[in-house]
Symmetry: C2
Subunit: 175 residues, 2 copies
DNA sequence: CACGGGTTTTAACCTAGGTTAATTCCAAAC
DNA sequence: GTTTGGAATTAACCTAGGTTAAAACCCGTG
């Protein structure tokens, strides 16, 4: 991974504690973060204070606000450490420029972005075509490892329902 | 655009009529389509025959099933011409291989995928955080040009509600 | 003009999930 | 053991949107 080399030479290492924010919704933060260890959640906060979880990020994952990095906006979500975390961060622009001049990096970016797009496409499908109940069923099948790390409250917020709603769904399903 | 050159030399031109399918859900179709002219819709069909619209594609747009092209699955949606269309198609693998060896192509792919990811991220946000009513309000603001080309029925199916539901939402909003 | 087919609206009824608040559970801390 | 605080469940009530079917509307065609 040539990108990882680039980060080792150009990036900055961060050690954060459980409960720390990497950045907050509204910040201008044009970095991409590579998760060395730990576990994070990315979440939106609506005006009336409601939390909606965009994604969970495990060791090996990457995250950054595309809208902030690439569309010149503020971060549209917050990023929070749910455990102590080690991260490597690099300016998005460095990655972007590097992919202009370095073919290997460009190709690795293509690979990463394809994987990312695929995931987002599947999530779009789930919201567009499935009920909350079906989304929950899929989640328990496909991400059983999350169950131990996150509360049911957070699963609900990730699926787009309230904790109360999810509790009902579970009960309905166990029959 | 070096990608467009590649397509002119390696791609195939298609002229389709209104009502034709480019491919159908379940097909193995590993092409990326560049829309020269016309207007199409990409939609999912559920087991019980319900249609959910993934996206509309205008001239200048590109589309293909990522799951088919990149994840080795069947097409997860169908692609239908809503007007007579001129398309250019190319095997995804050709684009992918080219981005391994040709830095310009790789960079153009990065640009395209960043734009695509951004759009999907916004759609995820809309489903996760907004009500159907809010999604409709945003759509009328941001894609007023669609209104003339598509029926309200289809707007509903794109927003994830039924036509009846959307009719109600409209009525509620006009007060 | 009348006809016919598709789109939109309306109405009546139903269901999933939201809201609020009370209750129960559980686990860590004492 | 008891206390305490967060997580999950339950219950009662409410609302948005689904479902079905009928009505109204809108065109294009003969």
């Amino acid at each position: 991974m040539k990108i990882l080399e680039l980060i080792r030479t150009n990036g900055v290492e961060l050690a954060l504690e459980k409960g720390d924010h990497v950045f907050r919704q509204g910040d201008e933060d044009k970095f991409i973060y590579f998760v060395t260890s730990g576990f994070l959640k990315a979440y939106y906060l609506s005006e009336d204070g409601k939390e909606n979880i965009k994604s969970f990020i495990e060791a090996g994952g990457r995250i950054g606000s595309l809208r902030a990095c690439y569309a010149g906006e503020k971060c549209s979500f917050s990023l929070l450490c749910m455990e102590d975390c080690k991260l490597l961060k690099i300016e998005f622009s460095k990655l972007y420029e590097a992919s202009k001049t370095d073919p290997e990096i460009a190709f690795e970016m293509v690979e990463f972005l394809l994987g990312f797009s695929l995931k987002k496409e599947i999530r779009e499908f789930e919201f567009l075509c499935l009920s909350a109940e079906q989304r929950y069923a899929r989640m328990t099948e496909e991400n059983p490892e999350f169950a131990s790390k996150i509360t049911q409250n957070e699963i609900a917020r990730y699926l787009g329902v309230t904790p109360v709603g999810l509790s009902r769904i579970k009960k309905r399903l166990e029959r």
